[in-house]
């Protein structure tokens, strides 16, 4: 997505951020642009100091020029004493919520919600490279998680082929090759780990905590971003307060200048987007609302994975959504396993077909024309296939010990017509091809059963349609009847 496509309102959350007043527009001229308060390099910390001094000038008047000089020196040389590893292992996001427990209520609310929606996080060291490091780490981590050696090879070739961009903008190979080599080493480590079947990502964390190597990878990504911007000035110049060449030289190619909005968009456009990974930022600020504000930096299209960044004014970390408990692929019968007041029925006591594939077809269940009980010929093979189907494993895990009095399973009420099926069986010509749970068809059943809200993994949950990866399940009647 070109930067010019971003509605300007996207930068809106910051207008609500009181922090903004620390970066007065009367400050250094290069910070006067809309992005001014988004960057947070050392000079701005100095600026914040100066602002503090100006507002308490009556106190300062008591100080001698020598002391003033000393404070100025301290301010000029100020570097926050940041502790901890460059990249932490995955940890609970409750740690973030705890940090804000006594802060502004907006922060407290948003961070405690965040700990539920994104239970894990990875903290980046705030040394001026956190945004760059978060994206680079997230990129390699996603490649590792996909466990597709071909894709890793392809990405390695893609990134190395971008050396031509570096050449085009006049970077010298003898200077940049050490950075590219270090990225290549990480690709090779990932390949090796995938081939050895290693699940643990600690090798990657380790690689990013070797400061020298970590700097090389970040420099590689910085140089690629800078080259990309220089070769596509039309996309970015309008968002910069200084000439693009100068921006690249003083903000992107430097060793410790934190990434800002424009640089991040360029990094995503130029380096990450070609990998089919998506990049999403979740803004944690004092804007209205109870949840962090998400924003997708990549085009809204199917992606193979997502790098999720948590942005707090001045800092980037990585966030992780809950591990998927079930995949969307065989969406069958989850409503039985998931309903809270569920009690299993005795399969032997009920003579209807429990073929999970058939149970998953909503409009057939509701169609009386399709309903005919004819259990006997299929019962044995069906129960076999049922036992072997993957969702059954899940079903067992969630199954409490059978109770003596079976109660009927709950059929979630459909709030809208189900998705149209592409291959509806031809019922009129060769008769019903499907047998259904007879309970479904009892007239008064929907009144007598407790109706639960469809669980998020339920095929009836309409939220699936907002998932860019969503694909309706196509049922082929002939396949399951073989």
């Amino acid at each position: 997505m070109p930067v010019s496509d971003i509605p300007f309102a996207h930068f809106g959350p910051y207008s609500y951020t009181p922090d903004r007043h620390y970066f007065p527009s009367t400050g250094q001229p290069q910070f006067a642009a809309p992005f001014s308060f988004l960057t947070h390099s050392i000079p701005q910390i100095t600026l914040a100091f100066q602002q503090g001094r100006a507002s308490s000038a009556y106190n300062m008047a008591a100080l001698s020029p020598d002391e003033m000089e000393r404070f100025q020196q301290l301010s000029n040389n100020f570097e926050p004493n940041v502790q901890g590893p460059l990249v932490t292992p995955k940890q609970s996001s409750h740690a973030i919520a705890d940090e804000y427990a006594n802060a502004d209520p907006t922060y407290a609310t948003k961070t405690s919600t965040l700990a539920l929606t994104h239970p894990m996080s990875r903290i980046m060291k705030g040394d001026g490279n956190c945004g760059w490091r978060a994206v680079a780490f997230g990129y390699f981590e996603n490649l590792f998680l996909l466990r597709d050696p071909l894709r890793v090879q392809r990405e390695l070739i893609r990134l190395k082929s971008m050396n031509t961009l570096l050449d085009q903008v006049g970077q010298q190979e003898h200077l940049y090759e050490i950075f590219v080599d270090e990225s290549e080493a990480v690709f090779n480590q990932i390949l090796e780990a995938i081939q050895k079947g290693i699940q643990d990502d600690s090798f990657l964390v380790h690689a990013f905590n070797e400061e020298y190597n970590s700097n090389a990878i970040i420099t590689h990504f910085r140089l690629l971003t800078s080259a990309w911007m220089r070769l596509n000035p039309g996309r970015y110049q309008a968002f910069l307060s200084l000439p693009l060449e100068q921006y690249c030289a003083t903000r992107v190619e430097t060793v410790k200048t934190e990434i800002d909005e424009v640089g991040l968009q360029a990094l995503v456009d130029g380096v990450i987007e070609g990998s089919e990974l998506a990049v999403e930022i979740l803004y944690l600020d004092r804007s209205e609302g109870e949840v962090v504000t998400p924003h997708l930096l990549t085009p809204n299209r199917p992606s193979v994975g997502t790098i999720r960044l948590l942005y707090r004014p001045g800092h980037y970390d990585l966030l992780y959504r809950p591990e998927p408990i079930v995949t969307m692929a065989p969406v069958v019968n989850y409503q039985y396993g998931i309903t809270s007041n569920y009690s299993p029925w005795d399969q032997g006591a009920l003579s209807f077909d429990v073929d999970p594939h058939l149970m998953a077809i909503p409009n057939l269940m509701m169609d009386p024309a399709a309903f005919a009980v004819n259990p006997s010929p299929m019962s044995a093979p069906v129960s076999n296939s049922y036992r072997m189907s993957p969702p059954h494993d899940l079903y067992l895990q969630h199954t409490p010990p059978p109770v003596s009095i079976p109660s009927p399973p709950v059929v979630p009420r459909m709030s809208a017509p189900p998705p149209p099926m592409t291959s509806a069986p031809n019922r009129s010509s060769d008769g019903p091809q499907i047998r259904l749970n007879p309970l479904v068809m009892k007239n008064n059943l929907s009144h007598s059963l407790p109706v639960t809200t469809p669980f998020k993994n339920s095929p009836y949950n309409q939220a699936h349609f907002q998932n860019q990866d969503f694909e309706p399940i196509h049922w082929e009647p002939n396949e399951s009847r073989k």
Partner: protein, 180 residues
């Protein structure tokens, strides 16, 4: 303290192993720094820029160099030979080298100890800068001082108001440094 240089011949095997483990990363970095500096030296020798030169000090330590800039024409430094020292940190190029004028110089952005105020040697340092780009930047700084943030306020004022007097100060302060 860097134990990698320690004489391990007489040390117990265990001690040897320990020091080896702890210094592996450090040694790898040192190798990378050395490799990078060797590349830079090769480039400087293969494609020299007019008016600048640099070479590692004779002590065999690749982390300290001496460089020379010839003062550009049409500046008060025309024809003067100015020597500088480069000290490279062991995380070079991810931190700037420390660059000092050894030759006494009168310049708005250089103090009387030879310390230089130049943004690319501070927060604007980039890992693709190198000895050559630093020397070229310093060469242009001689002709175009940044008088907004002078280290030598008198020099800044004279540069703006009295070029003749400025040049007199430059020549009075200059003193050729002999080879070591």
């Amino acid at each position: 303290m860097d134990y990698s240089m320690e004489d391990t011949q007489n040390a117990a095997p265990d001690a040897h192993e320990t020091s080896k483990l702890s210094s592996t990363a450090q040694r790898a970095d040192t190798q990378s720094v050395t490799k990078r500096l060797q590349h830079e030296l090769m480039e400087l020798m293969l494609s020299p820029s007019p008016g600048i030169s640099a070479f590692p000090n004779a002590d065999g330590n690749l982390l300290s160099w001496t460089a020379t800039i010839t003062g550009p024409t049409e500046t008060p430094y025309d024809g003067l030979s100015l020597k500088l020292s480069f000290t490279f940190p062991n995380n070079y190029p991810y931190a700037a080298p420390t660059v000092l004028f050894i030759t006494p110089i009168y310049h708005p952005n250089v103090d009387f100890s030879g310390r230089i105020c130049l943004d690319i040697l501070r927060d604007k340092w980039s890992a693709v800068y190198n000895v050559q780009t630093v020397l070229l930047s310093l060469q242009s700084l001689l002709g175009e001082p940044n008088n907004a943030s002078p280290l030598n306020a008198q020099a800044a004022e004279l540069w703006d108001n009295d070029k003749e007097e400025f040049k007199r100060h430059v020549l009075a302060r200059h003193r050729d440094i002999d080879e070591e």
